[in-house]
């Protein structure tokens, strides 16, 4: 036999050394690490996480939210995806970059000195972010800060860290990142992690850690406190959370505060569609998370949409009247026969309802209407459609489409984080109402009444968060960390207009039950993939799964 006939494999294939001795290649690996980010709007297997909460309901029975709603999720079926693995894949890649850069002494970008340090900072942050993704879903995870060898049985089979250990790791990585990152990148680099991004993650995770689900349990365990009813919290944790939120708010850019709320509701709406990458309210996005197929998902049936993420009556009822009072307040002036009059202005920008103006016509959710409320595929099951994240100027299946850059962090969240945390350890602090009112006044809502007690204020903050951050992938996590899901995830209602000439506006409104939802307290946490709990004998599954 001639030597070499069987030597076909490309011995020239790239090895670690080829990557990390080049800035350009290393940069591409970092880009790929970004690409593993799960977008906020399509978090649930390409569709909205809102439909797994009392915010909304999907129209198609094959969407992942159905499993959340009917309780058929389990360690073998995480509707979000195999995120336990996905995040560890990302974490390994982050570790491989950090190790590779150190080992091969990667050169800096000759044309752009300092870029290498920026990239290292970004990788530190992304490692933290992927760990944060893990603990948001599963509770305490396993902290991995190096690439593990496949024969390293000890490292492969570690027990889970406590929730707070994970938070500490996230904070530490964010701090490493902050050292290496700028406050702002040039416009060609928008989308990269900045100092503010790191601070926003810290703010979010410290708030989570201070919340009832984790405040006490998280100190000693990977498992949240899933007992029924309220749980004690720890003022010190709230203090840290508040401080972290304030850091974002106070972050200075070249011209004063780096981040600013958009001025008007119209600007706010624009922030979600055309202006995402330029808005000063936006802290970080998932670039090109999706495109106009998301509009098709959100649009009502009559506009060739799939009526996905249809807002529930539960959410609609939580919008205040324009006078700042809840509809349950007899003084609010709410008229059940004319339910859509005089509501919080965000109701009109964020939700389509029967009779709402939409693309030059009116929404028709009545029987035989264009957007008929129905259980048929692609029909709104609740009688509403999500408007906040949809781009009304799009016509489905027609060019040009658009790119959707999903907002992962924005300033309003940090205001709400700050107010919430402050109210828990320093009730009555003037900053609480101040930051909530900033958000309210932008929406045209009156300021909060003065003299609210801590519990009343908590209720207002929770509701403000529900309304302001609706459909942005917050509710699912908030109802858990607040431990209120056992009350909110029960029955979902919709609204059916019935043609009735005697009724005002020609329609009588009938609230109806869309579905019962199945809740068990184990559902406060997402179960880890069952196979994984079996592979690693030291790792325990979450309680009740």
């Amino acid at each position: 036999c001639k030597k070499g006939f069987l030597d076909r494999a490309a011995t020239t294939q790239q090895q670690d050394k080829d990557i990390f001795t080049s800035f350009a290649m290393t940069d591409q690996v970092v880009s790929n690490l970004y690409s593993r980010l799960r977008g906020a709007y399509t978090y649930l297997g390409g569709y909205s996480m809102s439909s797994g909460t009392d915010e909304a309901k999907d129209a198609s029975s094959w969407m992942g939210s159905m499993s959340f709603n009917n309780g058929s999720w389990s360690g073998a079926n995480n509707p979000i995806g195999n995120t336990w693995r996905d995040n560890y894949v990302a974490i390994r890649q982050a570790n491989a970059i950090l190790e590779g850069v150190a080992k091969y002494n990667t050169p800096d970008d000759a044309n752009n000195p300092g870029a290498l340090q920026n990239r290292i900072g970004e990788v530190y942050f992304l490692r933290a972010y992927y760990l944060a993704e893990l603990i948001r879903q599963y509770g305490g995870a396993i902290i991995v800060t190096k690439t593990i060898d496949q024969s390293d049985e000890v490292a492969l089979n570690q027990p889970r860290n406590t929730y707070d250990e994970c938070v500490a790791q996230i904070v530490a990585d964010c701090d490493e990142a902050i050292k290496r990152l700028p406050v702002i990148y040039p416009t060609t680099q928008v989308g990269r992690v900045t100092k503010g991004t790191c601070m926003a993650l810290k703010s979010r995770m410290l708030l989570f850690s201070a919340s009832p689900l984790w405040a006490i349990a998280g100190k000693t365990s990977y498992q949240g406190d899933i007992s029924t009813g309220t749980s004690a919290t720890d003022p010190e944790k709230w203090r840290k959370a508040a401080a972290a939120a304030k850091e974002v708010i106070d972050l200075q850019g070249t011209q004063g505060a780096e981040y600013k709320l958009e001025n008007t509701l119209a600007d706010r709406l624009n922030m979600f569609t055309n202006n995402t990458l330029l808005s000063k309210e936006v802290i970080w996005v998932r670039m090109k998370e999706t495109n106009d197929s998301y509009d098709r998902y959100l649009f009502p049936y009559g506009s060739n949409g799939w009526s996905g993420c249809s807002p529930t009556q539960n959410l609609v009822d939580d919008y205040e009247m324009a006078n700042g009072k809840a509809i349950t307040d007899p003084a609010s002036g709410y008229n059940a026969a004319k339910p859509y009059e005089n509501r919080d202005k965000r109701f009109y920008t964020d939700i389509s309802y029967n009779g709402a103006a939409w693309k030059g016509r009116k929404i028709e959710t009545f029987e035989r209407g264009k957007d008929e409320q129905s259980t048929q595929t692609d029909h709104s099951r609740t009688g509403y459609s999500c408007r906040k994240l949809a781009d009304e100027s799009i016509t489905i299946n027609q060019a040009p489409g658009r790119d959707v850059h999903g907002i992962l962090f924005r300033l309003a969240e940090c205001y709400l984080n700050y107010a919430e945390a402050l109210n828990e350890y320093d009730p009555g602090n003037a900053d609480i109402a101040r930051y909530i009112n900033l958000i309210r006044s932008r929406a045209g809502q009156p300021e909060l009444p003065t003299g609210l007690g801590q519990a009343e204020m908590r209720q207002r903050i929770h509701n403000e968060r529900r309304i302001e951050l609706a459909f942005e992938n917050h509710r699912f996590w908030d109802v858990r960390r607040w431990k209120i899901a056992e009350n909110t995830e029960k029955v979902i209602y919709g609204m059916r207009p019935i043609a009735d000439e005697s009724a005002p506006g020609g329609y009588r409104y009938e609230k109806f039950k869309v579905e019962d939802r199945l809740w068990r307290n184990a559902m406060y946490l997402i179960p880890i993939n069952t196979d994984e709990t079996l592979r690693n004998p030291k790792m325990k599954q979450n309680e009740g799964w």
């Binding site: 036999c1 006939f5 069987l6 294939q13 690409s35 890649q93 299946n397």
Partner: protein, 1097 residues
């Protein structure tokens, strides 16, 4: 005195005429002897002449011209006193005086031999096979009562010096009845031999060679053309079911051009690719579109003795196809043509609108919602004023198949040829597919064209060349959508939706943008081409100069396959009527757009595969008294390039030696040493040995003398190690490398930033999968042909199977390439019986066979399971797992008193599951309560039986075929009620309602997917055993006296059918029992009724 030399005779038959046969010859200063030799070579005639007369003549000249043989000889012999005449294919040159003086022409006078004083004569002649007129080489010819003898040559001729006083010759050949022939006055004695008995006449094809069936020690089964051509299919793999013991087949689709069966020899015995290696004429090539008319034999190799020479390609067994070759003789022309009708064996049935609407209302109420259809609508569905669409009825129609083959074979003892042209067309069964403005046909269709020329040339008596060229072209068309899409649509669309609107437009809306008529006829079409050319050139040199019967052969093959495709696609609009308050249509809402086919089309270069193969082989065989031995040493090298990927390369050196004593004690040793580029240097080559032995007990006197009914009995056994190098598409498993990954985007204009990432971690030292196989076999024939038995029992273990680890924690965070860790056992048996007899004028045969193969996963690095019943290890591969359904909940109390089921809300009438976890968990969940609930989809037991009878010119044959130990699990549209807006089948009528609780056969209905009921459980697992009348053929052979006047030698008309009847247990589902697990979106398997003629000239 006359002496004949050069006594090779062409086989008798229609001799050519020397006065019409033309040759072109020019000679300059040649001896007459050489001149005659040239005439011989050019004309194909053999010359017989007295050498001492011929040798005298030299300096023969002849001007260049084309003359008849007769004219040529007249010129050459003009100066001599010699005369000549033709006798069959021989031209005898003689001195006229001698002829006159002798009593008999060309009688031989005693040779003045020094060693022999007795007068001798030379007898020449040829030996042919009785039925086929095939020449038989290697036949022993002996003078009776003496040790004087010879063997026939490769063209079947012999010459033997016979003492004048001897009058009888004995012709014997293994597998044939020995014949004694009395020598007449003529010195030519031609003999035909009768096959000794059925089944043993053949040599069988083995890897890289042939062996005598009687002395084979490996497990082998084969069939020939006659059985293959009974199936009017375009894909050869569909003609094999039930015919070969040891072969397990499953056909999952009937779509023209994509309907090939999966073939497994002795089942699936590995976690990796389990497909056997397929070789056509000794070279690894696909068999799908080989024309069955071109095939001489199809053989499967089952045990290590038969496959060890295939090395790391052999562990899954092998299918060998040998194509036909020419035989010396006048051109034999064979023409076969048939045409038939094809239709679905079975189509799904769905309930009509009224039942649909009624059940849907019931389902909605069960789900706590309000009914969707009011009384008026129900009335409308009932009386037919509202739509009631039967999609299958609309979309299917019977269709046609046709095939034809013309082949010619013949030649002489210098060159022989087999040339063949075949055509096969199969049309799909979609209706309406031509109804579009552009005039194209969107129906599925495949046309297959086969051309083949197999040529053998004896360049000199010791050097032979062989050239085989085959072209296989297929041209497939579909309607620019997959069968799955169409079936899925037909399985999904509720009957309440019309196909057309009152104004004739296609109905549809934003949800249902696909319309069945549109899918069938308005999507445009696609063409898929497969252009395959295969060529082989080989030279064989006899090396008797070194040692007797030694030959060397070198061969080279080049195969090329291109599979381009072209798409002529378009879209169509659908319309939904909009009504006013009175229910009148006011306008239509359009969804989608009508588009035109792009005149420039869209073309895809498709796959491009090129394979080169080089082989050098030495063959040797020898008989020493009662000892017989053969040996083969072969080197080969194969390079396959597919598209632009790095070529795959193999090379191997292999050996096979056989020995037998009196054809009674048999021994065979074979081995190959093979390497693949797909493994790292240190573990690239493997050694694959096997040893096998046999004992023909029926040759022993104690059997012969005592057990008279036993005509033949052989036991044999083999053991060996074979390999399997398949590990999916993943290559270079020892490498970790970096490559492109998903990009990301930065900047306010979201510019793309390329992504790069590390690939799966490699494993140094990976190597091939080991297969150790043992086989014990028995072959017997009792009471002559009344009972034949072939039994094989086998046991195999596959180890080092290349699979990925499953127990590595996810915190590792990266994929790992396959490692040599899996272990699977496989064991089973095959039994074939045969019975052949004649009663009066009726001959008949029955030949049943059964195959059983059960594998067992010994190790697969399975995730440690929480409970033993969840373990997949210890079960056969692809065993079905799921919950155990335990009837339906009777009532609320039953629900309350049973363990909680954690899927979705449930109540009375929903499926109740068995909790297996005891007290550990208080509820049922898929994680811990799933256990083995059914057999894998590939059957463990496969059986078949051919039955046939002939009476005068009539013949009939039947093939029954079936399988068992296989289960089917359907889901989604195929069986779930109202699946994602879908519909219902008749068996849903048996649903649970409070009134029918005691007799219900189906759970309570739900209006959409139900997490509790619609999941993997034993409720959905059905026994998919079946028995089919796979083939039936009836034929009539016209009497010779009718056809002879029109110049035909054979004329048979026949009618045959395929998949004519099926018995199974899947009536509820109305699916074919070979359908795959899943959603049932399968192009139906076809039933074919076919009529044809078979003519030979």
């Amino acid at each position: 005195m006359l002496m004949l030399t050069s006594v090779l005779w062409a086989s008798p038959g229609k001799a050519q005429d020397m006065s019409t046969k033309k040759i072109t010859l020019t000679l300059k200063n040649e001896t007459l002897k050489n001149a005659l030799g040239k005439v011989e070579a050019l004309s194909g005639f053999r010359m017989a002449y007295p050498p001492e007369q011929i040798n005298k003549w030299k300096n023969v000249n002849l001007s260049k011209a084309t003359r008849s043989v007769k004219e040529t000889l007249e010129l050459l012999l003009a100066d001599t006193q010699l005369n000549f005449k033709q006798s069959d294919n021989i031209i005898v040159i003689f001195r006229p005086a001698e002829q006159l003086s002798a009593n008999v022409d060309t009688t031989i006078h005693p040779l003045p031999a020094a060693t022999n004083s007795a007068p001798m004569r030379t007898i020449i002649g040829s030996v042919v096979e009785n039925k086929t007129n095939t020449v038989l080489p290697g036949v022993s010819v002996q003078v009776k009562g003496t040790s004087r003898g010879t063997q026939t040559q490769s063209d079947g001729t012999y010459s033997l010096q016979v003492p004048a006083n001897q009058k009888v010759l004995v012709f014997s050949f293994i597998g044939y009845e020995t014949k004694e022939v009395e020598i007449t006055a003529s010195n030519q004695t031609d003999v035909t031999l009768l096959p000794a008995s059925f089944g043993l006449k053949d040599v069988v094809v083995v890897a890289y060679g042939q062996q005598k069936k009687a002395t084979v020690t490996g497990a082998i089964a084969s069939i020939n053309t006659k059985e293959l051509v009974q199936s009017p299919v375009s894909n050869l793999t569909n003609a094999l079911a039930g015919r070969l013991p040891g072969l397990i087949t499953t056909q999952r689709s009937g779509e023209p051009g994509v309907d090939g069966s999966s073939l497994y020899i002795r089942g699936v015995a590995t976690l990796n690719g389990a497909s056997p290696i397929i070789m056509v004429d000794g070279i690894e090539r696909p068999m799908d579109y080989v024309d069955p008319n071109d095939i001489e034999t199809l053989t499967i190799l089952k045990d290590a003795a038969a496959t060890a020479v295939l090395g790391m390609r052999g562990a899954n067994g092998a299918i060998l196809i040998t194509t036909k070759r020419g035989k010396a003789g006048p051109p034999a022309v064979s023409f076969r043509a048939s045409t038939g009708i094809t239709e679905a064996t079975r189509l799904p049935k769905y309930l009509g609108s009224y039942d649909y609407a009624t059940l849907y209302n019931e389902a909605l109420v069960n789900d706590g919602a309000e009914p969707a259809f009011n009384q008026k609508q129900l009335e409308g569905y009932k009386n037919g004023s509202l739509p009631n669409t039967d999609y299958y009825k609309f979309m299917m129609k019977p269709s046609s198949v046709a095939q034809g083959n013309l082949n010619v074979s013949g030649g002489n003892n210098i060159a022989r040829y087999f040339i063949s042209a075949g055509y096969n067309v199969q049309d799909g069964i979609y209706a309406h597919s031509k109804e579009n403005a552009d005039g194209y046909n969107g129906n599925n269709n495949i046309k297959r064209y086969n051309l083949r020329a197999n040529v053998d040339v004896d360049i000199t008596p010791t050097l032979a060349a062989r050239v085989d060229i085959a072209g296989i072209m297929t041209d497939r068309r579909d309607g620019n959508n997959s069968a799955g899409d169409i079936m899925n649509l037909a399985n999904r669309m509720a009957p309440i939706y019309p196909i057309f609107n009152p104004n004739g437009s296609m109905w549809g809306n934003g949800t249902f943008q696909s319309n069945i008529f549109g899918e069938l006829s308005q999507k445009g079409y696609r063409r898929f081409y497969n252009n395959t050319v295969q060529g082989t050139f080989a030279l064989t040199r006899k090396l008797d100069v070194i040692t007797k019967n030694l030959t060397a052969k070198a061969s080279f093959s080049y195969d090329n396959t291109n599979t381009p495709s072209a798409t002529y696609g378009r879209n169509y609009a659908v319309f939904e009527p909009l009504y006013d308050a009175q229910g009148n249509i006011t306008s239509y809402k359009q969804s989608g757009q009508d588009t035109k086919i792009d005149p420039n089309g869209s073309f895809n270069g498709g796959g491009a595969n090129r394979s080169t193969y080089l082989e050098a082989v030495m063959n040797w065989n020898r008989q020493f008294g009662k000892h017989e031995a053969t040996g083969m040493l072969l080197w080969n090298r194969r390079l396959t390039e597919s598209g632009a990927s790095i070529p795959k390369a193999y090379q191997s050196l292999l050996f096979r030696g056989t020995y037998n004593y009196m054809q009674k004690y048999l021994l065979e040793v074979s081995a190959s040493y093979q390497g693949s580029e797909n493994f790292p240097k240190e573990s690239r080559y493997g050694f694959f040995p096997s040893v096998s032995a046999g004992w023909v007990l029926s040759e022993e006197n104690f059997i012969k003398d005592n057990v008279s009914f036993l005509s033949f009995l052989k036991i044999r056994g083999s053991y060996g190690e074979v390999g399997n190098d398949q590990a999916g598409d993943d290559r270079f498993l020892w490498f970790t490398s970096w490559g492109g990954g998903d990009p990301y985007y930065f900047g306010t204009n979201a510019g793309q930033a390329n992504g790069w990432k590390q690939g799966a971690i490699g494993n140094p030292g990976v190597t091939w999968e080991r297969g150790r196989q043992a086989n014990i076999g028995l072959e017997a024939r009792l009471w002559k042909n009344l009972l034949g038995i072939t039994l094989d029992v086998f046991k195999q273990r596959r180890s080092q199977i290349l699979i990925r680890r499953s127990t590595l924690s996810d915190v590792f965070g990266q994929d790992i390439k396959a490692q040599n860790i899996g272990i699977v056992d496989n064991k089973g048996f095959e039994l074939e019986l045969s019975h052949e007899n004649r009663i009066g004028n009726v001959t008949y045969f029955i030949k049943p066979n059964v195959t059983f193969a059960r594998n067992n996963i010994v190790f697969q690095d399975e995730v440690p399971q929480a409970y033993p019943w969840m373990k997949r290890t210890g079960h056969p591969i692809n065993t079905k797992f799921g919950l155990v359904a335990d009837g339906f909940f009777k009532d609320e109390n039953d629900v309350k008193n049973s363990p909680f089921q954690n899927f979705s809300q449930y109540g009375p009438g929903d499926i109740k599951y068995k909790k297996l976890t005891g007290d550990t968990y208080d509820y049922i969940q898929s994680n811990f309560d799933e256990t083995a609930i059914g057999y894998a989809r590939t059957p463990e037991i496969m059986f078949g039986a051919t039955l046939g009878a002939a009476y005068k010119g009539f013949d009939i044959s039947l093939l029954f075929q079936g399988a068992t130990h296989t289960d089917l699990r359907l889901e989604n549209e195929a069986v779930y009620e109202f699946f994602q807006g879908g519909k219902v089948k008749p068996f849903h009528l048996g649903r649970w309602t409070p009134e029918t609780a005691a007799t219900a056969t189906y759970p309570r209905l739900h209006s959409s997917t139900n997490g509790n009921n619609h999941r993997a459980s034993s409720f959905w697992v059905k026994d998919a055993s079946y028995l089919r009348l796979k083939n039936a053929e009836i034929g009539y052979q016209l009497p010779k006296k009718w056809i002879k006047p029109v110049g035909l030698s054979y004329f048979r008309i026949y009618a045959n059918g395929m998949n004519l009847l099926t018995w199974d247990k899947l009536k509820d589902y109305q699916v074919d029992p070979e359908i795959g697990d899943g959603n049932g979106a399968m192009y139906p398997i076809q039933r074919i009724w076919n009529f044809g003629i078979d003519v030979r000239f």
